[in-house]
């Protein structure tokens, strides 16, 4: 019956790149051979609608089964039945051109599945997509049909959510919201106006001088002394993010103030209302699924797309991050496999619109085959006890027992942890540490982020585990009963068919774990292959140039050491001690100056060489190199430089150190760009540098000039550096490498997937506490 009724029909679908949409397209193509599909796709920035269909829908493993059935014919079969329509549900008239409007006018069924499903969408975005989207689809279809004089029957099926019922307790019937008791009478037009106006207000607020100052401080804290262009860029990004966050907060606030848990349910509910106003002009059916999860059977057990609501929670739990999740043990968690929802929609399409006005079908399990929260938790816990995931050391992670705490308690616990970690992160971030210890700080930051995420889940999804509403599915079951036995097998959408234990243990959890790409075996070094791949790219003969910073990248030393060593080289013993003491006293203020502006810091040191004899310094520098620098060098760094040269790469050193100190390093590099001191008429140094010290963004431009001069491509170049002040240089090249990065840079490197090296001084040498010059 279903197949016959839909055979030869054309079906217009929105949201086909989504989780449900993909399953629906596959289900129709596979089970209803005679139908043609028009898919509304928003063209991407670089790809057309038809490219997106290929890339985002047909390439998905959802279509493996169809590919197998059709073999070589797959492409041609698809091409003859699937037609891309370029457009967008957030634009009036869906942004359709004339020929596409004709397709829309001529189709028999319209399935509107496009939605902004994220529970934390910005308010105005949710309004545009979820509230206005369905009405726009209806209006465009009505208009097109009258424009082209089409009179044959049409049927608009809009996918909503069972949670439009809001925070209601008890039975939730399959009725328009306005027909249910306790419904709030909201004027949707004014909600739209308000949401649109709010963005302008928030934008204005983000430009307030005090708010801008906040962004400036935050950018400086995160990046350090990286120079103006990068700081400005970061500030603007922070502002955009702030606007986004404000709009998300506004969405949640507005939704909860009128009885919905979040902006998603709130806009979906108003969207139904706005759509149903059009029921006279176009026959409408609304399908309301509950929480859609992995496929039970079709196209294959466990098929899932994207990382959805329950998955991150489950994985956080398995990782030991989320020790508790609020919920009532005896409460019902309403989950429905995606293949049941897709089958139900197809059946609704075949059935056609209701005779007496709009019909509503809820696709939910709670009333017919309830899954108790305690049962779900129990299955998850025992499954992960049997199949633990492993941490990076190859140790299995033990999942905690669940005590079903209230939401408030979990929230306050997580909140406290987050605040503690934040304080710890801040305190340690002020210490001058790097390398392995810097990674410790990055780990704290990661942990805090994980806790913050967990807190986010609890805030966002907590209500879904505490929902007391039971969704009635009488209409759905009537529809199911109307099918013949064969169809009941093919379109199995009766929730009673779900065997929860096997669904959770054998289908859903294995699929979630696979999609989360977590470690399921106790082998160590999972990231090694990535590191090796990165290294192979860096050490490929195709690269052009390898540029190195000096301090803490090649040598664990700095301008202070150098100066102290050279200044004490020719002093008697007692004076050496006094000098060291004096310099140590200056330590904190020097450190502060270095943090503030590297250039000023260097200049203050250059001044100390005033009156020095160039020949003496040159001679002493040679000794300094052998007695001090080489011992504090990283042998792996020297080896890497030599490796680059042997691969035919040009090697360049850019540093604020002085030329005479670098003299012994000359043979290691093709070129050295460094600071030089001015020599006075008396033949002595003047304590002034000849040019601006090559630091911060100056390095990036020096590097760019150098590359241009030697016809080298920066995109084919590698830069090695250790601190955020080198960020402009690192960003300028195709292959940045962070060496013993300080915490801020370590965090950035981890986020961007930059290659990181931990290079150490040679082992076995006596530690050097004070850089006091003496002959070897």
């Amino acid at each position: 019956m279903i197949v016959d009724r839909l055979s030869g029909k054309t079906i217009f679908i929105t949201g086909s790149t989504g989780f449900l949409g993909t399953a629906l397209v596959e289900k129709l193509l596979r089970t209803v051979p005679g139908c043609n599909l028009y898919l509304l796709i928003r063209p991407g920035r670089t790809s057309t609608a038809s490219e997106r269909i290929n890339k985002e829908i047909l390439k998905n493993d959802c279509f493996d089964r169809l590919r197998e059935t059709y073999g070589d014919q797959f492409e041609s079969e698809i091409a003859s039945r699937v037609h891309p329509v370029s457009g967008d549900v957030v634009s009036d008239n869906l942004n359709l051109d004339d020929s596409d409007r004709k397709f829309l006018a001529d189709c028999d069924v319209i399935i509107h599945s496009a939605a902004s499903v994220s529970f934390d969408s910005p308010l105005d975005q949710a309004v545009e997509v979820n509230l206005l989207g369905p009405r726009r689809v209806a209006e465009t279809a009505i208009q097109a049909r009258s424009e082209f004089g089409v009179t044959k029957p049409v049927h608009l099926i809009a996918i909503s959510t069972a949670y439009v019922a809001g925070r209601r307790r008890g039975l939730s019937p399959e009725l328009p919201l306005s027909d249910t008791p306790f419904s709030i009478q909201l004027e949707w037009h004014s909600e739209v106006e308000a949401a649109r106006g709010l963005r302008a207000d928030v934008d204005l607020k983000s430009r307030d001088s005090r708010t801008l100052e906040l962004f400036r401080k935050k950018a400086a804290k995160e990046l350090g002394a990286v120079g103006v262009p990068l700081l400005v860029d970061k500030q603007e990004k922070l502002r955009t993010q702030w606007i986004h966050d404000e709009m998300v907060r506004a969405g949640i606030a507005r939704a909860t103030s009128v009885g919905w848990p979040d902006a998603y349910a709130y806009t979906k509910a108003l969207g139904e209302k706005a759509l149903l106003e059009k029921q006279k002009e176009i026959p409408i059916t609304i399908v309301r699924p509950s929480i859609i999860e992995s496929a039970m059977l079709e196209p294959k057990p466990g098929w899932i797309r994207g990382f959805r609501m329950a998955e991150p929670i489950i994985i956080s739990y398995a990782r030991g991050l989320l020790k508790e999740f609020p919920g009532v043990p005896e409460g019902v968690i309403d989950v429905i496999p995606v293949d049941m929802v897709a089958a139900a929609i197809v059946a609704v399409a075949a059935k056609g619109p209701g005779k007496g006005g709009p019909e509503i079908f809820q696709v939910a399990s709670g009333s017919r085959n309830p899954l108790k929260y305690a049962t779900l938790v129990n299955h998850v816990r025992t499954w992960f006890q049997e199949h633990p995931i492993y941490d990076s050391d190859g140790q299995p992670i033990m999942v905690p027992d669940w005590s079903f705490p209230g939401r408030g308690r979990v929230q306050s616990q997580l909140d406290k942890t987050s605040k503690f970690l934040q304080a710890l992160e801040q305190a340690t971030g002020m210490l001058p540490i790097r390398g392995e210890q810097a990674n410790f700080i990055v780990d704290i930051e990661r942990k805090r982020q994980a806790v913050d995420n967990a807190l986010g889940y609890v805030e966002l999804y907590g209500t879904y585990a505490e929902t007391d509403a039971i969704f009635k599915i009488d209409n759905l079951l009537d529809l199911y009963e109307s099918l013949d036995e064969q169809e009941k097998g093919q379109f199995a959408f009766d929730p009673a068919l779900i065997h929860w234990e096997s669904f959770i243990r054998e289908i859903h959890l294995p699929s979630v774990v696979q999609h989360a790409r977590v470690k399921t075996t106790p082998t160590k070094r999972p990231a090694k292959s990535r590191v090796e791949r990165n290294l192979a790219l860096i050490l490929s003969e195709e690269r052009h140039l390898a540029v190195f910073d000096l301090e803490n990248t090649i040598i664990s030393s700095n301008v202070v050491d150098t100066y102290a060593w050279l200044a004490t080289r020719r002093l008697p013993k007692l004076k050496k001690a006094l000098f060291a003491f004096d310099l140590a006293m200056q330590g904190p203020s020097l450190l502060a100056l270095d943090r503030k502006d590297r250039g000023d810091f260097l200049r203050s040191f250059y001044r100390k060489y005033e009156g020095a004899k160039p020949q003496t310094l040159r001679k002493d520098s040679q000794e300094f190199f052998n007695a001090y620098l080489l011992k504090k060098s990283f042998p792996a760094a020297i080896e890497r430089i030599r490796r680059h040269r042997s691969l035919g790469h040009k090697t360049l050193l850019i540093t604020g150190a002085l030329d005479f100190i670098l003299e012994p390093l000359k043979p290691l590099f093709d070129d050295i760009i460094c600071a030089e001191l001015e020599i006075g008429d008396n033949g002595l140094y003047k304590g002034r540098s000849l040019a601006v010290p090559p630091t911060g963004e100056a390095r990036a431009s020096i590097l760019a000039d150098y590359a241009a001069e030697h016809s080298l491509k920066l995109s084919e170049s590698i830069a090695y550096a250790d601190s955020t002040s080198d960020l402009p240089m690192l960003e300028a090249v195709g292959y940045p490498v962070c060496v013993n990065p300080e915490p801020k840079l370590a965090a950035i490197a981890r986020k961007r997937g930059w290659h990181t090296e931990q290079w150490d001084k040679a082992k076995g040498l006596p530690p050097v506490y004070l850089p006091i010059g003496r002959s070897m």
């Binding site: 080896e639 040679a762 082992k763």
Partner: protein, 529 residues
């Protein structure tokens, strides 16, 4: 009482555990019953009047040579070459014997009105010495006067402007040496003959040569056929040096060789237990041992190293001979053997030895894994005359912590060698053909050798070749107490206890093996019959 000769102890129930050097510390190991322990002869009595002996030697040369004073004249070019800090080990308490000899030579030269005198340290491809090291060898007076005038030099095997090619030997070997030395009216060479390998024609032909010249005998083929290189008449290394030495003489280079020998009074009183046989330890030796091992065990390796490297040996002069190279060297070798030779009957299945913190190439530095290999398989294994102490296919057990530690100032190319060459292969022939020339000509290593205090880039290769004969001869090498990863990189096995090591050894050579322990310090040379 005259010093006792070397001695071979058969281990029985009452034998106390034997002392093993273990890098910067010691181990006491109970050896299986029936094992042999070879003890060196006691230190010979020194010459009563060393200064007088030196003066006497300079004026009464051996072989075809006139007294030194008759070879000196005003307006001449005089060059005095001397052995570097790799000899003796550890460095001797001041004054160093070279200082005493050179001071007398300079006095004679001054008396004859010789102005053009240059001192040159015969480094070959060794590292340049530091100021304090040169001061130690020469004394402050010589250092200050010569250094200021630029007349104190260290041989630079890469300084093309100061090398001269003297020709090819009948075997086609290039002879290229220090130009100043070769073109002087007289070259006086002052040596310290710690072991029988040193001295003779090797002093000039190796000590003042370039890589081009050295590669003819510093290679795998020569080393595999030097059985051993401590026994000059069975050493191809020496045959080659002797050919070169004769060519140098034919080319008209006039050499006046001064060779000195020392007794084996190696450690000062506080470390007296090192010089004695264990069962003869008295209370002072026991407390000394306990104090030293406890102190060294508690301190980090760098500190133990610093303490041990500051030890100066109370070596005493046992002989000084001057004159024509070959005649001088024959007497010297006799002196060395008199001090070091111990007669041993029959080879052994397992040879054990403890390796100390110091070898010729890590004075004031770290004994890195490659030097551990070289000291064990190059030096100690080759301390034999006749045939090796251990039978063909036998097992060598070395005791040393063998940490992955390198001195980046002194051994830069060693790091590269360990990380890249040994990761690929440990076969000397393959290493030689695949990697040697790249390291030898590497500009960065040449730069560090010439301007810093680094061994030449090719030096770790020579260390590896030094052990080629042993590698060829042995069935297995086990490093007792060695860092497993590092030892594995060397191509060996590590064992944490002696009984583990013996068990592992038996899997190569079968049950009930014979075992011989080479007791050191001090040094000894086995005359295996």
């Amino acid at each position: 009482m005259s010093p006792r000769p070397g001695f071979i102890l058969d281990v029985d129930k009452s034998t106390p555990p034997a002392l093993f050097w273990h890098g910067e510390g010691f181990r006491l190991e109970k050896l299986p019953m029936g094992s042999r322990v070879i003890y060196p002869p006691e230190a010979l009595d020194p010459l009563k009047d060393p200064l007088g002996a030196i003066a006497h030697a300079l004026e009464n040369p051996v072989g075809d040579s006139s007294p030194l004073s008759s070879l000196l004249f005003a307006d001449m070019r005089l060059t005095i070459a001397f052995d570097d800090l790799s000899l003796p080990l550890p460095s001797m308490q001041p004054p160093d014997i070279r200082q005493l000899v050179i001071e007398q030579i300079l006095d004679l030269a001054a008396a004859k009105g010789v102005d053009d005198v240059v001192l040159v340290a015969a480094l070959a491809l060794h590292r340049r010495m530091t100021e304090s090291e040169l001061r130690h060898i020469l004394g402050d007076r010589i250092y200050d006067s010569f250094n200021k005038m630029g007349r104190l030099t260290q041989h630079d095997a890469e300084d093309r402007s100061n090398l001269i090619h003297l020709g090819l030997t009948d075997k086609g070997e290039d002879v290229e040496i220090n130009k100043r030395a070769a073109t002087s009216d007289l070259l006086v060479y002052v040596n310290v003959n710690l072991v029988s390998m040193d001295g003779g024609h090797k002093s000039v032909a190796t000590g003042l040569a370039s890589y081009k010249s050295l590669r003819h005998h510093h290679n795998v083929k020569t080393m595999v056929h030097s059985k051993s290189f401590m026994d000059r008449h069975n050493s191809q290394l020496h045959s080659s040096n002797w050919r070169m030495g004769r060519l140098i003489k034919e080319a008209g280079v006039k050499i006046f060789q001064v060779e000195t020998t020392l007794n084996t009074n190696t450690f000062p009183d506080s470390f007296g237990f090192l010089q004695k046989r264990e069962w003869e330890w008295n209370l002072k030796d026991r407390t000394g041992f306990i104090a030293a091992s406890a102190a060294l065990g508690k301190t980090p390796p760098w500190l133990s190293r610093k303490i041990l490297h500051s030890i100066r040996s109370p070596y005493q002069l046992t002989g000084v001979t001057a004159g024509e190279v070959e005649a001088v060297h024959d007497i010297t070798i006799e002196n060395v053997f008199k001090q070091q030779l111990v007669e041993v009957h029959g080879q052994t299945d397992i040879l054990t030895m403890g390796l100390p913190y110091i070898g010729p190439y890590n004075v004031n530095s770290i004994m890195n894994p490659i030097l551990v290999y070289c000291l064990g398989l190059g030096y100690f294994f080759n301390m034999y005359k006749g045939m090796p102490l251990v039978r063909k296919g036998g097992v060598l057990i070395l005791s040393h912590p063998t940490r992955r530690e390198f001195d980046p100032t002194i051994h830069p190319s060693y790091i590269d060698f360990f990380d890249n060459v040994l990761a690929d292969t440990t076969d000397p022939l393959e290493i030689e053909s695949k990697y040697e020339s790249a390291f030898a000509t590497d500009p960065w290593y040449i730069h560090l050798y010439r301007t810093g205090h680094a061994y030449h880039g090719v030096h770790p290769f020579y260390m590896w070749y030094w052990g080629a004969h042993a590698l060829d001869h042995l069935g297995a090498v086990i490093i007792l107490g060695g860092d497993p990863k590092t030892v594995h990189r060397l191509g060996f096995m590590s064992a944490s206890t002696m009984s583990d090591a013996l068990e592992m050894a038996q899997s190569f050579i079968g049950p009930d093996p014979s075992l011989t322990h080479l007791h050191s310090p001090p040094l000894l040379m086995a005359d295996v019959k």
